[in-house]
């Protein structure tokens, strides 16, 4: 029971890190609170639904598609919304309200086109690529059913989502620490005005970060139907609050801290779910408040609190 909760917690936690990562990147670079984050997740799930419904192939193919589409959408959205917002008196506060409006628009449009019914994807469709390749190379039967870790069986989609999250986190690391644009991104994160003064094209860097943030959220969304069972257009709001809990847990403005925050969150969530299930709903909120009050910079953060 305990082993199961712990391993499931780590698997969910890795996935949760991916859920929070994009939000953190956007906040870290632009000091903008993207309340529409959960709605991008929801749209990513609809990309996966579309890929399965139209092409009938493994939803894993939706991952690069969702990422590219939302990378472009993000950059476009950045140029439309953000420069105007930054010109106002209190951009951080107004961004909350602006992106709340955006999330309403997204939710409304999705509801108009897709209805309010719950949608899901058969979980055996995910990862059919792997089993097909395995069958072609090594022969044998395509195996279905749970994957065994430490003597316990876990649904295959959990393991695949966790694996994809690990890859995505690795890529974000490479982007931030091994590429020129990533170095510039970190410069903008630590001091926006000094970055501007030293000749960095802050708008271009921020637009890239915004696009990548949205892209990561959409990738996380592809797995949402498997991790949460089903998906509705109203799924976005809850996902946003959960993402915030994870991001703040890790530390706002430090995308790699989110990986730690996600795992801690996932393990706590599974433990509470296993032993005190009626209180599990309270966990993200209480955890969020406690962390904000006791260690507002997050588990790995520098001090950011003012007055």
């Amino acid at each position: 029971m305990l082993t199961y909760a712990l391993v499931a917690g780590v698997l969910f936690g890795l996935y949760f890190s991916l859920v929070g990562m994009g939000l953190n990147l956007v906040f870290g670079v632009m000091r903008i609170v993207n309340l529409a984050h959960g709605d991008v997740l929801m749209l990513g799930a609809f990309v996966a639904l579309g890929v399965v419904a139209l092409a009938g192939i493994d939803p894993l193919f939706a991952v690069p598609l969702a990422f590219m589409v939302f990378l472009l959408v993000g950059m476009l959205l950045y140029w439309v919304l953000v420069p105007r917002l930054q010109g106002s008196a209190n951009p951080e506060m107004l961004s909350i309200i602006l992106f709340f409006g955006l999330s309403q628009v997204v939710e409304a449009i999705t509801t108009i086109f897709a209805g309010t019914s719950e949608r899901s994807i058969q979980s055996r469709l995910l990862g059919t690529v792997f089993s097909t390749i395995k069958v072609q190379l090594f022969g044998g039967k395509p195996e279905t059913g749970p994957i065994r870790i430490l003597g316990q069986g876990f649904p295959a989609p959990w393991v695949i989502a966790a694996g994809t999250s690990l890859v995505a986190i690795g890529l974000v690391y490479v982007y931030l620490y091994r590429t020129r644009l990533g170095t510039l991104t970190r410069a903008v994160m630590s001091r926006r005005d000094e970055a501007l003064a030293s000749g960095i094209d802050v708008d271009r860097v921020s637009a890239a970060a915004f696009g990548i943030g949205l892209g990561l959220a959409a990738v996380a969304g592809v797995f949402a139907p498997f991790m949460f069972g089903s998906i509705t257009p109203a799924f976005g709001a809850d996902a946003t609050v959960t993402s915030f809990a994870i991001v703040v847990l890790g530390s706002l403005g430090n995308p790699l801290g989110t990986a730690l925050g996600g795992v801690v969150y996932g393990v706590c969530y599974m433990l509470v779910q296993t032993y005190l299930s009626s209180w599990a709903d309270l966990l993200p909120y209480v955890l969020l408040i406690l962390i904000l009050l006791l260690r507002p910079s997050g588990l790995l953060g520098r001090r950011v609190r003012v007055a």
């Binding site: 309200i97 904000l292 609190r305």
Partner: protein, 306 residues
């Protein structure tokens, strides 16, 4: 004539008079009550956001806590409605006191923490494990105290107090000090303003107002579920109404509620998703093109808006 008297005579008195007379002329009593509720909440948001700069994204937490404070007192102690409304205000203040540590956070951190706090209160109240006290997710029914017209006048009294409070903030050195803290807390504290005390006072005042409004709402509707009284729409609407009119003014939030909530009821509820779409676009347009509210159209031309 001092400004405070002018503000009371030309804004507060006509507003209350109109809403006191309207139930005799207009059939839809619930709609009028909702108008009064949102006027109270928008002014409550104005007190905390307009004068101190803290965005209470989970403002509904106080409202819902007030409603459940009212319900618990009526259900378990059979107390009269007025006493229960006062208790609801007290519950709001107590929750505010409990959450004062959040004021140490700034900017987005505060807004998110406040949102989380309101959701935590919701899940606490709606927890099936507490069914004996709050009836959990199954909702409460308070038929014993049901009296919409008394509740409506009680709401008017709270509205009077709230708008009166804003008139006071607008015309007193206390309100000026609060705005100084909002603009630059370090300079304000060097000028002798007790920053922490000021913020807590404004925070508790807005919590009190929302708690009272929640209690009266519970009295008025008498049957409700946790999801009704903790609906995020209360926070969002109150914030958007206040912003639309213009915060840190007396008339801004009033204009915002009258116009936007009026439009809301004209569009109607028949197709909620189209309504949500229009509303979302309206919010985005507001932030992008009119971030200081409708009153900024006048102040930009140099006209003074109370």
């Amino acid at each position: 004539m001092p400004n405070a008297v002018k503000h009371v005579l030309f804004i507060l008195v006509p507003l209350i008079a109109v809403f006191a007379v309207l139930p005799g002329l207009y059939q839809n009593h619930l709609l009028l009550f909702n108008f009064v509720t949102f006027l109270i909440l928008a002014q409550g948001v104005n007190i905390i956001y307009g004068f101190t700069g803290y965005l209470p994204f989970g403002y509904v937490g106080f409202f819902g806590a007030g409603a459940y404070g009212f319900a618990v007192l009526v259900m378990h102690y059979q107390s009269p409605a007025l006493v229960a409304v006062l208790a609801a205000g007290l519950v709001g203040v107590l929750l505010g006191l409990l959450l004062t540590p959040l004021l140490r956070l700034s900017g987005a951190y505060f807004a998110i923490a406040n949102l989380a706090a309101s959701l935590a209160v919701l899940h606490l109240v709606a927890n099936p494990a507490l069914e004996g006290i709050t009836k959990g997710p199954y909702g409460v029914s308070l038929t014993g105290t049901f009296n919409p017209s008394h509740a409506y006048y009680a709401a008017l009294v709270v509205l009077t107090l709230t708008v009166g409070g804003v008139v006071f903030l607008k015309n007193s050195s206390f309100g000026l000090a609060l705005q100084a803290v909002r603009e630059d807390s370090v300079s304000a504290s060097m000028a002798g303003v007790n920053v922490v005390k000021m913020r807590i006072a404004a925070w508790l005042a807005s919590a009190l107002v929302a708690g009272l409004a929640g209690g009266i709402y519970a009295w008025y509707v008498s049957v409700f579920y946790p999801d009704n009284v903790f609906s995020g729409e209360f926070s969002i609407f109150a914030i958007v109404f206040a912003l639309f009119g213009g915060v840190a003014t007396i008339s801004g939030p009033i204009i915002g509620v009258l116009i936007l909530y009026g439009v809301y009821n004209l569009i109607g509820f028949t197709t909620p998703q189209y309504f949500q779409l229009i509303y979302g676009l309206l919010i985005m347009g507001l932030v992008l093109f009119l971030p200081a509210g409708l009153v900024s159209l006048a102040t930009r031309r140099g006209w003074h808006v109370p």
